[in-house]
Amino acid sequence: MEKAKTEIIVGMGTCGITAGAADIYALAAESAKTKGLDVRLSSTSCIGMCHSEVLVDVVTPGFARVTYGNVTKEAIEEIISSHVAANVPVAKYVIAQMPSYGKTYDDIPIFGQMPYMNKQERVVLSNCGFIDPLSIEDYISKGGYEAVKKVIGGGDPKAAIEIIKASGLRGRGGAGFPTGLKWEFCNKAVSDKKYIICNADEGDPGAFMDRSVLEGDPHAIIEGMLIAGFSIGASYGYVYCRAEYPLAISNLKVAIKEAHERNFLGDNVLNSGFKFNIKIKEGAGAFVCGEETALIASIEGLRGMPRAKPPFPAQKGLWGKPTVINNVETLANIPRIIVKGADWFSSFGTEKSKGTKVFALAGKINRGGLIEIPMGITLREIIYDIGGGIPNDRAFKAVQTGGPSGGCLTAAMLDTPVDYESIAKAGSIVGSGGMIVMDEDDCMVNIAKYFLEFTQSESCGKCTPCRIGTKRLYEILERITEGKGRKGDLELLEELSEDIRLASLCGLGQTAPNPILSTLRNFRDEYVAHIEEKRCPAAVCKPLITFTIIEKSCTGCMACARACPTSAITGERKKPHFITSEKCIKCGSCFDVCKFKSVLKK
């Protein structure tokens, strides 16, 4: 038997590559070669710890798997000389170790016990960062394709539907519709052809769980689609993925090819007589194309514009045939539920929100990245225990969930359990899983404006309230942040928001006013300060802030004067400086460079 080799595994998801993982990979190969080390070098996908990319894992045979973070060129050299060559982990770069691989090292935290991990529950992401997405064997070695064998072997399309129904799984694409029920509708529809579509459009800015799953565990999606297809009676599946996800698409292509070779896909799946093929449709990356009827139009080669429902896709979908559309994360749950059972799945979560949910944690947070939690843990646990709190000791202000369709939740709501009902009650939505943390330096009017800028530009333009209404909302917010807000603007925002919500055709328009309504509800005084006092309390909105130098503490170091692009700052060495406000363009450079906190931004 071949002697077991030391393994070096580089995280090569999109986030890893962006952080320079490809260079590290090449360097590791070169360095091992020059040192004459016989290693197995491989890549894996994103494990979710995007705050610590580049990630490199080393497994010495018989020993625990060790994860290194923020690996630089120097670090990889050291890791190879010490850990790979001599089995001595390099403490300063270590994040944690995983004992399931073998003997543990002293003084290295256990991966699962780190505060980042111990509140997480990895179901959807269980393979991400652990298998080579380009290897079907890796997937199979983790129990992959067992579910398909079970479902197709059982022969009854309704069996899987019953399991999914009993599990309580709800769609992870945003609307939270019970998945088993959706399948049942489609199963009952009578038609010569049916379709299953995987929605991988992922348009919510800041969310990237679908990308990570497609990149890191593409076979799970294929398997989920196979089971859905068998259950509803579809022999054709489409994956609608934005073209901005090239790695996800190429990994999925490899996976589809491998699945064909193993007869998991094709005209006679596992010799059962069941036919199932998958086609990838690349979208141009429009937010609205994530809406199911727009998505269908886009696959059909039409402009991606929603149409009125009913008829629902389960009755009349792609090419007029009954169609189920499921989100990537929803589908990734399927094989796991089939193998481990409905009871296992529903043991996670709350009364009405079962299972786990993946969130993309971003914004003012120490440990941003992808996390997967059992439904029902609190926002506080996510932000402080998993996310490590707010950087630079700033105070937490709010967290936006549900992206541009959602709302913000305040400090008073930090103990809200994260599940569909509680988050809705608190005034936001779970949505597809974006979670953006804001601190005291964020202006809530500006945040609302940011989301409206997004929605108004992503509106498809079909219906009047959304096409023109969201533009007008954006313009009102814009003038408020510019200090041109007027009396009555807040009432106008509220009236128009309500009408857009009621009158728009699709979910995009119907939810677009949410960021405004929720910030108005929770932070109305900030709006009022902008309009009535022409003041931005968080000192973000440029036209409303002034920079001055605090004479008392200014040391006259001249750093600000050197940094100022418009020479607005004058003063002699070792004497207090002065800003000529007419010249100041409010770039903030002086504020950033002053080591004595003597520049006042107000």
Partner: protein, 347 residues
């Protein structure tokens, strides 16, 4: 068996598959619309036709919602009236409001709603679409800053004309109906799009400044260009045609082709022949119909007498009706006595 429901308290009945709007129209119940056209697929874009249905959490568009048994519909409520008004205000906030000089004033649905909702002022204002580049095509004036994106032109071009010359490009506020790559329109110029446009966004070039509603008389006539005999509705001011339309209840269902819609300049052309001409001494001179027909008959007779009937041949025209064509071949065969008869459209 039809489906029974109530609209504004009135019990009505319609076929399964009908929409609320169709049913309401059948019973003479008015619901305001801007994007619906009975001849086209439902669209649901303008959001003017919103109605309240008992049990539904939000108002729904009557043009897209199929009726169901026992449904209770209200077409006028404070809520839907408020939403309709907001929609019109939003449309006007991105509109040139150019009625003074607009070709369509007096016959424009947007103007009409602004009038009915009494919108002298507008809560909304902001950026307006302004397009300076003019479409250089010879027939259609396309003022896209007056377009309300109702999508009727796009649908008629696809669904009725089968051409697909235009679609909506860009997203959100910048959405715009245009030919591919914003080239100049290069299509059949049937003007179907113009005929369905609810505003002054689409008009005929030759209709410009020919009159709007004052002093316009409508004259129904039959197009003389082809055997289809489409019914034309000439809008005439004085002795001049201002524009041409066609009514949806005629055999051509209100659709025309480029010739019928725009090809009427010959009527007042100085080159147009208004009496028969006979060449005398190498020069055409005016004649009466009797003179001309007698002259032709004489010549025909002579040719037949001198060279036999097969020296004659007749070619008929697609501009003639079936009846005229029948008569023509009968004339050639029975009167002239030859089978040499053919038709231009046979090629």
């Amino acid at each position: 068996m039809g489906i029974k429901l109530t609209i504004d308290g009135k019990e009505v009945e319609a076929k399964n598959g009908a929409t609320i709007l169709q049913t309401a129209r059948d019973y003479g119940i008015y619901i305001p619309t801007l994007c619906d056209n009975p001849a086209l697929e439902p669209y649901g874009g303008c959001r003017l036709c919103l109605v309240e249905v008992e049990g539904m959490p939000k108002p729904t568009t009557s043009c897209t919602t199929p009726i169901t048994e026992g449904m209770k519909v209200k077409t006028v409520t404070p809520q839907v009236e408020r939403l309709r008004k907001t929609v019109i205000e939003l449309l006007l906030s991105d509109h040139p409001n150019d009625c003074m000089t607009c070709e369509r004033a007096g016959d424009c649905k947007l103007q009409e709603f602004a009038y009915f909702y009494g919108l002298r002022s507008n809560r909304f204002y902001g950026k307006r679409r302004q397009y300076t580049k003019q479409d250089g095509n010879p027939f259609l004036e396309r003022n896209m800053d007056k377009c309300i994106l109702c999508g009727q032109c796009v649908r008629v071009c696809n669904e009725v004309q089968g051409v697909g010359a235009i679609d909506i490009a860009y997203r959100g506020f910048d959405a715009k109906v245009c030919p591919s790559f914003e080239n100049d329109l290069n299509c059949e110029f049937c003007g179907q799009c113009v005929s369905v446009c609810p505003t002054g966004a689409l008009t005929g070039r030759i209709w410009s400044k020919k009159g709007r509603t004052i002093g316009i008389k409508e004259v129904e006539t039959t197009c003389s260009y082809c055997g289809c005999g489409c019914q034309l509705n000439l809008h005439v001011r004085g002795n001049e045609i201002a524009r041409v339309s066609s009514k949806p209840d005629n055999h051509n269902e209100g659709w025309l082709c480029v010739k019928g819609r725009f090809g009427y300049e010959f009527i007042t052309s100085p080159d147009r022949l208004t009496t028969p001409l006979i060449k005398r001494d190498g020069k055409f001179t005016e004649a009466t119909w009797d003179e001309a027909i007698s002259y032709v008959a004489e010549r025909f007779k002579k040719i037949i007498a001198d060279n036999g009937p097969d020296a004659m041949a007749g070619l008929s025209s697609a501009r003639c009706t079936n009846e005229e064509n029948f008569l023509f071949q009968k004339f050639m065969r029975a009167v002239v006595g030859t089978n040499n008869v053919d038709h231009c459209a046979r090629l």
